[in-house]
């Protein structure tokens, strides 16, 4: 009966992305939490601590902090956003409903990726705008620094997106998702060089943070936004851009395998 008609993969991807974006922006809490909260933190912390210290002579702490907040903003838009919303959608039955349709599984994830791309770019734009307007943040100085910025964005958001999708299967139900995901994100932000200078953090916490992507995202972003010679504030005294790419790349592989192993379309108590 259906001969002559065909379903376009692109149309489905667009329909899913549109549905994701609409759903996201109509939930006021998720918009405030994901997009505005990092900006509020930036302005707040920037106003309190920004002008007190210098990272190196001539470069105020706020530049270090903006780079960290960019990293945190990227993680919030991808990891927290997906880990929480997918857990809630699974709980509400959306995933089960979709599995009962001819929807190609991949298009669900493509819709999520479309949402994350939009939200993360908006988060970057808002944070950069505030940084430049309120705290005289200097943008990356040359093409090389912009390229590293772009690389951290792509690799970091990809890794965090995959980990967010995978993590969404851990909470027992939708309600418990925020209280499981948010503490992890906040702790990582404290030890990964977002709120404090990473090299000032105790060694064992540094080592813990170095296992996860956020520390490396922040480090790569600092390379992009701080003067070259600020590398003396890094633990190794180097920017380690290659290592940043390597660790984030490994996390992409880990996240992908984790997704493939653990992703569930139904609630755990639904058999």
């Amino acid at each position: 009966m259906a001969e002559g008609h065909s379903v376009s993969y692109t149309t489905i991807c667009l329909a899913r992305t549109r549905a994701e974006i609409k759903s996201f922006f109509r939930q006021r809490e998720s918009v405030v939490f994901t997009l505005l909260f990092p900006v509020i933190l930036l302005v707040l912390f920037g106003s309190i601590f920004g002008s007190q210290d210098e990272i190196i002579p001539g470069t105020p702490f706020i530049n270090y902090f903006v780079a960290g907040m960019l990293g945190a903003g990227l993680m919030t838009s991808s990891f927290q956003n997906l880990a929480i919303t997918i857990a809630m959608e699974r709980d509400a039955g959306l995933l089960k409903r979709l599995r009962g349709t001819p929807m190609p599984k991949s298009t669900f994830f493509i819709g999520k990726i479309g949402l994350v791309m939009l939200v993360s770019l908006m988060s970057l734009a808002l944070l950069l705008f505030c940084g430049v307007v309120f705290f005289e943040l200097e943008l990356p100085v040359d093409a090389r620094h912009w390229a590293v910025f772009a690389m951290v964005y792509v690799l970091g958001v990809t890794a965090c997106t995959l980990c967010g999708i995978a993590f969404s299967s851990i909470p027992k139900n939708g309600k418990s998702a925020p209280s499981m995901v948010s503490p992890i994100a906040i702790i990582l932000q404290f030890i990964s060089g977002v709120f404090f200078i990473y090299s000032d953090v105790p060694k064992w916490l540094q080592n813990t943070a170095a296992v996860f992507p956020l520390k490396w995202m922040c480090q790569g972003l600092r390379y992009a936004f701080l003067p070259e010679q600020a590398n003396i504030r890094e633990v190794t005294g180097e920017w380690e851009v290659g290592r940043v790419a390597l660790v984030l790349g490994v996390w992409i592989v880990v996240g992908l395998l984790w997704c493939l192993r653990s992703f569930r379309w139904r609630n755990r108590d639904d058999g």
Binding site: Q27, E89, G93
Partner: protein, 284 residues
């Protein structure tokens, strides 16, 4: 031609507290174009059976063919020929009715026009309302709308009218008649026996994972052969007489009581009586 063919289906759940045989050698056959109602108490294996047919669950044993294919090997071509209305949902809260329908229409090769779906499920006036703003009954209509948007050959309806007011249920029944006229095969589960009676060509009763009865609603009712004659006697007591010859009972009564018999009724067993007798009044 059969839409659903099940032979010797078995499914056991294993948990820490032991194994539960949810489906235990179930046979089922549903013709194309038929409306089939599956009844049974909670925990009888209804949902497990349906979810195996829908391709959500793997079976342990037996043969299953749904629209000629094994649901365990279901591909998107097969999925575009079936429609599923799940039991209870609370998703799609932020999208409007029209947006949800449009999102799902994109998944099917030959979707119904949105206006047709809105008409069929009676959501025309609510097209611009968000899912979160819909009452329970209207949400259920949206579920049904999403289930039929792809013009399914086979539609699964799992307790579709739970939470409906009587008018909404009537409306829903006439919608099912419309789908029947189009030749859609429907597998329905319901707790409302009048619903099964009004809609279904055949009814299957499932208990302890087995099909214990399979008949037309009328045939099923007929299994409970005793009719009930009741009246109020001179002392004001209700007297009930069960008999397979109620006419003779009335004849004898009128002979014995020359006057008018107070509150005289003759009741034929309802499907509910037949059903309750069958599952041993154990509607857990």
């Amino acid at each position: 031609m059969s839409a659903v063919e099940v032979i010797g289906l078995t499914k056991t759940y294993h948990s820490k507290s032991g194994a539960t045989q949810a489906v235990d050698g179930l046979d089922l056959h549903i013709d194309v174009g038929e409306i089939f109602a599956l009844l049974g108490p909670n925990g009888a294996g209804k949902s497990t059976t349906i979810e195996i047919l829908e391709g959500y669950r793997q079976r342990d044993g037996g043969e299953v063919r749904v629209l000629g294919l094994d649901p365990q090997r279901a591909d998107s071509g097969w999925r575009s020929r079936i429609g599923i209305v799940l039991q209870s949902t609370k998703d799609l809260t932020e999208l409007t009715v029209a947006e949800s329908l449009a999102t799902f229409a994109a998944l099917y090769p030959d979707p119904r026009p949105m206006s047709e779906v809105l008409d069929l499920v009676g959501l025309g006036e609510h097209a611009d309302q968000r899912g979160s703003q819909l009452s329970g009954g209207l949400r259920r209509r949206l579920d049904v709308g999403l289930g039929i948007i792809g013009r399914p050959e086979l539609l699964f309806l799992d307790e579709p009218t739970t939470g409906f007011d009587p008018e909404a249920r009537r409306h829903f029944w006439s919608m099912i008649d419309g789908l029947r006229a189009e030749g859609t095969t429907i597998l329905l589960t319901t707790h409302y026996l009048d619903e099964a009676e009004a809609l279904a060509d055949r009814v299957g009763v499932i208990s302890n994972g087995k099909l214990i009865a399979l008949d037309t609603p009328r045939g099923l009712r007929g299994r409970q052969t005793l009719a009930r004659v009741s009246y109020r006697d001179a002392s004001g007591q209700i007297v009930e007489i069960e008999s397979d010859t109620p006419t003779q009972v009335v004849r004898d009564l009128t002979k014995a009581h020359p006057g008018e018999l107070a509150e005289l009724t003759i009741t034929r067993p309802s499907l509910e009586d037949a059903y309750l007798a069958m599952i041993g009044n154990d509607d857990g």
